[in-house]
Amino acid sequence: MKTVEPHVDARRMWRKFKSGAMMTAAVLATLLTLVPLFLVLGYLVKQGVNGINWAFFTRLPRPVGEPGGGMGNAVLGTLEVVGLASVLAVIVGVGTGIYLSEPGRNRSVANGVRFAADVLMGVPSIVVGIFVYAVVVRPMGGFSALAGAIALAVMMTPLVARTTEQALSMVPAELRESALALGIPRWRTSLSVVARTAARGITTGVLLALARIAGETAPLLFTAFGNQYWSTSLRRPIAALTVQVYTYAISPFEDWHRQAWAGALVLTAMVLVVEGVVRSISGRGLRTPR
């Protein structure tokens, strides 16, 4: 039998104590993070759920004082603006990401693009809104859905570009080599072999970026502006949930507050659905060989 020296025993106790203390601290920190999250979600559901009914999704907003009405146009507007923004951001962003991960590219150009993307990600969203106001809204002569979509796309593109680059860099170099050695041209190799292998990672990145921008209000204030009526025209102002929630929330009317809560809940639910899709995609793991 082994005899344990007393000081060894003491040291072990001390280690156990330290481990226990750290564990407790970690659990507390986790709770501290989760509690506000659930408080926010819980409060949102409590306040918003009353305002949610069929009319909310199908009706137009009513003037103050008239009961009923909904935010159907804003739901549709959000879908349209975010959808168009995503299309633009995917085209530009995925293309940029492919370029950045291309081994043959010019290194200093790539670093410049990367730097620009990182800076753009850090620009306050209100500034993006003002920028698009200056370069799109003014020349076009008015607020428009298109301007709103462009503003959101400006925010989304760098996110998509960087996550695409990351997803592509995880594709084993052997695949690119094998494809080139088969006499497949470089651009086809990049698109049909490398990008296709990373498709899941790219999709995940796009959806996360989409979830991020779907909740933006500031870039839409001077671009899409908002609209009290049904409109899908790209050239006219369009309603969006975020803007509508903002407008209603700062109003003094009880009815509108209720609607604002409902809008916030719907918006949050839309984002959560997207996040859920992301989880189910990336949970299955990136499909790489072995």
Binding site: E177, S178, A179, G183, T288
Partner: protein
């Protein structure tokens, strides 16, 4: 007759020279083994023959490589066209993970923009898989992912993929080093069968393998071609002391 002819060919990575003025005639419808210690430039040598060397950043080639007498580094030669004529199999089998077995085989044809109908495609897939001695094992699972196969099967799938493009030359860079003895035997048998239709260059660290499958052997050391000749002669009666030392395992 020499299918491939290297004429004072040197290969560089940036400013370092990995191969120095190699002169080598690779005969048609034969297997040529390239042997030598690690880092001597074997992979670089074969990658110069299908213009893959230049895909590495800052890498370049000097001198000539003649394929059927025509310089593949001549002006106006498209590397993509050369790679279709000179196929390559790598050390680590890398089937495309998003593609089924049959798509892996047909990928070279599809992505090269050849318009094939379903029947022609299936025919080429079958013929390539038969030539790679894999058909019987996968004929009922052509739709399964290529990555679902064993390592040895994956390597034969990569051979089938290379053959589907109908190359004239097949470069194999240590094709068996990731495989078990049985799969290795499979591949060796295959090499012997394929040489009636293809010119094969195989890089190997395994002396027995070189002796078993090759007709000619090139021995490289430090980026220099030390000796080239008939495999039997190289292995029984080499001319150079370095060759003998390497083959008998005294270094490397």
């Amino acid at each position: 007759m020499a299918k491939i002819r290297l004429v004072r060919m040197s290969a560089y990575f940036g400013r370092t020279r990995a191969l120095r003025e190699i002169n080598l005639d690779i005969p048609e419808f034969n297997v040529t083994a390239v042997i030598g210690p690690s880092g001597c430039g074997k992979s670089t040598l074969v990658r110069c023959i299908n213009r893959m060397h230049e895909t590495v950043k800052d890498a370049r080639v000097e001198g000539d490589v003649l394929l059927d007498g025509e310089n593949i580094y001549g002006p106006g030669v498209d590397p993509v066209q050369i790679r279709r004529r000179v196929g390559m199999v790598f050390q680590k089998p890398a089937p495309f993970p998003t593609m089924s077995i049959q798509d892996n085989v047909a990928v070279g044809l599809n992505l090269n923009g050849l318009a094939l109908n379903r029947g022609e495609r299936a025919e080429i897939v079958e013929r390539s898989l038969r030539r790679a001695a894999l058909w019987n094992e996968v004929k009922d699972d052509l739709g399964k992912p290529g990555t679902s196969l064993s390592g040895g099967q994956q390597q034969r799938l990569c051979i089938a993929r290379a053959l589907a493009v109908e190359p004239e030359v097949l470069l194999m860079d240590e094709p068996c080093s990731a495989l078990d003895p049985i799969s290795t035997a499979h591949i060796e048998e295959l090499v012997l069968e394929l040489k009636s239709q293809y010119t094969i260059v195989i890089v190997t660290h395994n002396m027995q393998q070189a002796a078993r499958v090759s007709d000619f052997t090139a021995f490289l050391l430090g980026g220099v071609l030390i000796e080239f000749g008939d495999t039997k002669q190289i292995f029984t009666n080499p001319e150079r002391q370095e060759t003998e030392d390497y083959i008998t395992g005294r270094f490397g």
